[in-house]
């Protein structure tokens, strides 16, 4: 069981990809519902909400296909997003919330922990082996 992982999608990465996938679906679906039903209420917040969904989609894809550079860049964007949106958002703006609002409080703070786990995982498995 302690075999070294050859890919970002094996071992712990298997679980990480699934969690990213859940958030890709949750964040994107949430943004689409917001934009479809109340786009005029807070267009900027909903656009950011959609952006967070796209970031999770790319991160899921990159981790699932062992594209480490893309994964690294995307997860850094994700970390920046959750920290900036988390700091700027007001906890009581429920209708304007995205997954990253209030540091992901509405999602058990998983959005705040996830990029750290992702970066740790990328650091842990290191560079791809040229001999596969």
């Amino acid at each position: 069981m302690s075999r070294r992982s050859a890919s970002t999608r094996t071992g712990f990465g298997r679980i990480l990809v699934f969690v990213y996938g859940v958030f890709a679906l949750a964040a994107t679906a949430r943004a689409l519902v917001q934009l479809a039903t109340q786009a005029s209420t807070a267009p900027v917040a909903y656009a950011l909400s959609l952006f967070s969904g796209l970031v999770y989609i790319v991160a899921t894809w990159a981790l699932a296909t062992d594209r480490r550079r893309v994964a690294l860049v995307t997860i850094c964007v994700e970390l920046t997003g959750v920290l900036v949106i988390g700091t700027l958002s007001h906890p009581d703006d429920i209708d304007k919330a995205s997954v990253w609002s209030d540091y992901g409080n509405g999602y058990g703070f998983v959005p705040l922990v996830l990029p750290f786990l992702g970066l740790w995982w990328l650091w842990r498995i290191g560079r791809p082996n040229s001999d596969g």
């Binding site: 069981m1 094996t10 071992g11 712990f12 990465g13 298997r14 679980i15 990809v17 699934f18 969690v19 996938g21 859940v22 679906l25 949750a26 679906a29 949430r30 519902v33 479809a36 039903t37 058990g108």
Partner: protein, 118 residues
Amino acid sequence: MTVLQIVLAAISAVIALWLVVLIVRDLEPNDYLYAALGLLEVGMIALLVVGLVQVAGDHGDVNVAAYVGYLVGSVVLLPVAFLWSIGERTRAGTGVLLVAVLVVPVLFLRLHQLWAAR
């Protein structure tokens, strides 16, 4: 939460404990576990049907799009987790099932909150 949601949440809790035991003892999921997951999935489909009937009826101010979104998401969750987990039959693959089963009650909580806003 509805009775069906409470029963399904209890089933997920039992399956979650079961999965923890499998992970700790480094055992692969057996057919009984997959049968239990299948039972849970049947319950999720029933929940979708009940939810769609509710939404078609008198639903007040419920956010229908979000409500249906969570219902569909809860039906999709377990099959996707199953397919992704069998790709790697290790503790990690079993861990994927554990995450999915832990997400189930969270979805019920959201459904409950959305319906309570009626």
